[in-house]
Amino acid sequence: MSTIPENLKYADSHEWVLDNGDGTVTIGITDHAQDLLGDVVYVELPEVGAEVTAKEQFSLVESVKAASDIYAPVNGEITEVNEALDDAPELINESPFEGAWIAKVKLSDSADLDKLLDATGYADSIE
């Protein structure tokens, strides 16, 4: 059974979103997603300053058995990326919700958050 923290929002494509309360969000992939992928060997990070569009690819996570597109859960602009993943992609497996955040995004519309699932909704979606 995978972990699904209550304080986060989720996309059904297995990304989590943390509302930082300052108009920005932090994005990563869920415990369930990393479990499906297996040992992660590489994370392709987006460029700071790039515009992202909800439901469109903005990152890529590779394991030894799969390469999975990561979709932006919200619209906005990348303000920061987690460069620690360049050297330690295994963080995705080890701590998907903390050390392995992928990017921070400045929201173009905070209403985007309302379109995401809560923990219960996400738990239902992966059953």
């Binding site: 590489y42 030894v64 390469a67």
Partner: protein, 954 residues
């Protein structure tokens, strides 16, 4: 005595050499599977609706010796000339020990692509050597382990630049000094990807705003120019650069890496691989570290095994078509492993000093000739390595005629210019003859006593060391090379060790008689652009082969250009697209693909600019006709085609394939039958006769071209007549029989022409009846294996009479759920028995797909089945608790000699159980050279060069 002399002639001898089971064995196997005869088995297996009635069995088999005599007569219609054509193909001396110990050695050429790295360490090392040669000579940071040819490498460079560059531009600059066949393939590939190509003089580059630019070094004009400033100008406008290079010139020249290039590609042909009328040869693509995750093709990397020892494997496979499907970096699967290894060994044998001597000789002879020309008043390019473009004005045709009369081939660069390229094989005597064509007198002494100088600026002389790794400095005597090659060879499992039961790969016999003509000079030393009057033998061979393959597949004609199955798919989709457009149907771009398809299908569709729509399969693994009909109807206006594999990738003859074809045709689509499984159809149910409009034929599966450890392959396509006008053409040498020359998909007009002799020999020696019997026996062997293993492992899919086609899938998932032992553990354990694993987790995850082919006899099939059954017993011991899941011979497999000889043995099973699980293994033991390889470590710590030698020491 009732026999007559006819019965003693033995014309049908080869059938019994090629097909494993004899009549008595066939009887036994039929009894095991409960069928009364082979024809009953086929009747129960192949749907009646697609069986071909009135089969034409008129082509009689020809004995091995007679077939060789007939082919020799064809070969003699080719004339071996001295080639000074250049244009990307140069004569070369194939070192005899490499010819004999590699190209003519089944230990190398019958191996498979190294997906199972533990039993592939030898060829992986040989391929890593090739990567190191490319890295060193190009001055780049990472290289792949070969691509199909230089022109497709250029197209791959284009797409790599496109996906790696965020600049919003769809314009590509190609310098007009690039090879014409390279420009042609770039244009073909660009069109459907909506990339605009501008071809112009390099001097005009700055006028264009582009995402990428392709230059050549040295250019087709022979000029050797420093590209540093041009590359910097490209970077200034945020464009990426790719440079086409000649490996031999880079031995002497400043590397493109030093000039700042982003991508470097080319052909390694002149490193000891015959011209072969166009192929096969290994191309390469090298790039900067920053682009490694996006580069196309296989890349060999260093990882470690479970004992912590360095071990090699293919790295970053998740980028490839079998996993990423339509999002893959390329549709390429087969490359040119055997030829890459030849080129690698060429560098190992000659070493840096030997290569410098060869390149130095080429440059000096060129310079000597250039000076002679200039003294006579001819003008040529002012800088050069090996190519002189001579302005000959009105004398052009006269000089060409003089040369041709002496069987010397030049290239007519224009109406008033002749291009001449000097090669490794050019001697001072050749130079005297060359000069004579221009009415210049040179003497042997003039030449040999001249200063060894070269025709390019001293600032372009290479300053850095090349090939410093010990592997390139240790094997220069033939004794040493022979032993090094042997050491590598015996690390691997090839068909000369045991059967290779890879599903969907058809690892059948590659007979010696089929292979022998490949290295005849009349086929090998022919330039693809040699004049027509010198290649009558090739033209005859190709035409006969087109007729043979048309008959075998039920298609009206064949294009022999595609160099691999994936490229065949691409060429087929291209023909379909052109056909629709020729009828004014511009909207048709939907490609229906069943969910069970191989990943190459969607990757090829993406490359052809099509949109993939997946069609569901039902629970029996067949195409869901309801879903198909719905999707075809929904896309009635924009349906381009379906790509369906038959028999299906599930190893079953689907009953409804005719309906599938009819539905697609009804809504205006074309039917692409993927020929991967043609080995179940030849002589029984030709795809062109049951509804296919186009198919590719993997000659390296059904028609006996060996897999070569990951290439060469050939993927000709068969088409019905309405698609024939849309087959690929060629810009330098028109493809015979084509009224209009469409864009090419390969560098050479007939792909890897020299290996087509293998297929010709096979079909000739088998005759029609032999081809049909091969299919029958392939189906018999698969059903026998399915029956024997079916009592121990569930067989996932069968046809309506509980038979399989030419392969079967066994399901490991239930067993894994019960025992914790995975399909991978079984695959690795088979290595301890001396077997290559079946295909793992394709087309269904958690399964093994077994294809025995017709070439394996009953004894070998039983050895394999016994091994699989013994493994099942071992799994039972894990289930029962006799062995723990953490420590048993399955999860610890494969077992190296080193681990078995350690003083400590702390396992819950004996050394004997580990190494000799069945009694017959002792007599023919294969020792895996490394333990289980850590894939995760290798991909997290990418290292794709020859490792320091001390890494291999204990």
């Amino acid at each position: 005595m009732t026999s007559c002399i006819r019965d003693l002639l033995n014309n049908d001898e080869f059938m019994a050499r090629h097909i494993g089971p004899d009549a008595a064995e066939q009887e036994k196997m039929l009894a095991t599977i409960g069928r009364s005869s082979l024809s009953e088995l086929i009747d129960k297996t192949v749907p009646q609706a697609i069986r071909q009635a009135n089969l034409d069995l008129s082509a009689e088999p020809v004995s091995e010796s007679d077939a060789l005599i007939q082919l020799k007569a064809i070969a003699e219609k080719n004339k071996v000339a001295r080639s000074f054509i250049g244009m990307g193909y140069h004569d070369t001396h194939v070192p005899s020990p490499i010819l004999r110990n590699l190209l003519e050695n089944p230990g190398w050429y019958t191996a498979y692509t190294p997906y199972q790295p533990e039993i592939s360490q030898g060829r992986l090392e040989a391929l890593l050597n090739f990567q190191q040669v490319v890295i060193d000579l190009t001055g780049m940071e990472i290289s792949n382990a070969s691509l199909l040819d230089e022109a497709t490498a250029a197209a791959e460079a284009m797409t790599l630049m496109k996906r790696s560059n965020r600049k919003k531009s769809d314009l590509l600059f190609v310098a007009s000094h690039c090879l014409p066949q390279t420009i042609d393939v770039i244009k073909t590939r660009a069109e459907l990807l909506n990339i605009e190509v501008v071809v112009d003089d390099i001097a005009n580059f700055s006028q264009y705003d582009v995402f990428g630019a392709i230059f050549q070094y040295p250019g087709i004009d022979g000029e050797v120019a420093d590209l540093t400033d041009t590359i910097a100008a490209a970077h200034e406008q945020k464009a990426l650069t790719s440079i086409a290079v000649d490996l031999l010139s880079l031995v002497l020249l400043k590397s493109p890496g030093d000039m700042g290039a982003d991508i470097v590609f080319g052909s390694a042909q002149r490193f000891g691989v015959p011209m072969g009328f166009g192929g096969p040869h290994a191309a390469f693509l090298a790039t900067k570290d920053a682009f490694k995750r996006s580069m196309p093709g296989r890349v060999i990397g260093v990882s470690k095994d479970v004992h912590g020892k360095p071990a090699l494997r293919m790295a970053m496979q998740t980028r490839e078509q079998h996993i990423r499907r339509e999002k893959a970096t390329s549709n390429i699967c087969t490359a040119q492993a055997l030829l890459a290894m030849m080129a690698g060994f060429y560098a190992v044998y000659h070493g840096p000093d030997g290569l410098k001597k060869i390149a130095g000789r080429v440059a000096a002879l060129t310079d000597c000739f250039a000076k002679g020309l200039q003294a006579k008043g001819f003008t040529t390019n002012t800088s050069y390595f090996d190519t002189l473009v001579v302005t000959t004005g009105e004398q052009t045709d006269a000089i060409l005629a003089t040369a041709e009369a002496k069987l010397m081939n030049f290239y007519k660069a224009s109406e008033s210019q002749i291009s001449i390229s000097i090669s490794e094989t050019t001697t001072p005597a050749d130079l005297i003859d060359l000069a004579a064509c221009f009415d210049i007198t040179l003497t042997l002494e003039n030449i040999t006593e001249s200063d060894a100088s070269q025709g390019f600026d001293a600032s372009l002389l290479r300053q850095d060391d090349i090939l410093t790794h010990p592997v390139f400095n240790s094997h220069h005597s033939e004794t040493e090379l022979m032993r090094y090659m042997h050491q590598l060879e015996v690390k691997d499992i090839a068909l000369n060790q045991s059967m290779i039961p890879l599903g969907s790969c058809t690892m059948k016999l590659n007979a010696a008689s089929e292979m022998i003509p490949v290295t005849w000079a009349e086929f090998g030393r022919i330039h693809p652009f040699a004049p027509n009057n010198q290649v009558g033998g090739y033209h005859a061979l190709l035409q006969e082969l087109i007729d043979m393959l048309s008959k075998a597949t039920g298609y009206d004609t064949i294009s022999l250009q595609p160099n691999s199955g994936a490229q065949g798919e691409y060429a087929g989709l291209l023909a379909i697209d052109k056909y629709h457009k020729s009828r004014g149907d511009h909207a048709r771009n939907i490609c229906l693909i069943p969910s069970s398809a191989h990943g190459t299908n969607p990757a090829s569709a993406a490359l052809a600019g099509m949109k993939v729509v997946i069609v569901k399969c039902d629970e029996d693994g067949n195409i869901d006709l309801v879903d198909l009909a719905e999707k075809a109807e929904k896309h009635a206006d924009d349906l381009s085609c379906i790509m369906a594999t038959y028999p299906s990738t599930h190893g079953v003859f689907e009953e409804h394939i005719r309906e599938v074809c009819d539905i697609v045709h009804k809504f205006g689509g074309q039917v692409y039958i993927d020929g991967a499984n043609l080995n179940a159809l030849v002589g029984v149910a030709p795809p062109g006769a049951f509804g296919g409009d186009v198919s590719h034929l993997n000659l390296h599966k059904t028609f006996c071209i060996p897999h070569g450890g990951g290439g060469p392959g050939m993927g000709p396509i068969g088409v019905k007549s309405h698609l024939a006008p849309f087959l690929p053409g060629h810009t330098v040498t028109p493809v015979m029989g084509m009224a209009e020359q469409h864009g090419a998909v390969s560098a050479a007009p007939y792909g890897s022409a020299s290996i087509l002799v293998i297929t010709w020999m096979y079909i000739k020696m088998m005759g029609d009846k032999g081809l049909r019997d091969a299919t029958y026996n392939a189906i018999l062997n698969a059903n026998y294996v399915a029956k024997r293993l079916g009592d121990h492992y569930p067989v996932l899919y069968t046809g309506k009479n509980d038979t399989v086609a030419h392969e079967c899938i066994i399901d490991i998932r239930p067993l894994k759920a019960e025992s914790g032992i995975s399909e991978e553990d079984i695959a690795k354990r088979l290595m301890d028995f001396g077997f290559h694993a079946p295909t793992m987790s394709f087309p269904v995850a958690g399964t093994l797909m077994i294809e025995p082919t017709e070439s394996e006899n009953l004894e070998e099939l039983d050895r394999f089945c016994d091994a699989m059954i013994q493994i099942r017993h071992e799994i039972t011991k894990v289930q029962s608790g006799d062995w723990t899941l953490e420590d048993n011979p399955l999860v610890n497999a494969p077992h190296t000699a080193n681990s078995l000889l350690s003083t400590e043995w702390e396992h819950g099973y004996s050394r004997q159980e580990a190494a000799y699980p069945l009694s017959w293994i002792k007599a023919r033991k294969y020792w895996p050279p490394v333990g289980r390889i850590d894939n995760v470590y290798g991909d997290r710590n990418l290292f794709c060069e020859c490792p320091p030698i001390d890494g291999y020491e204990d």
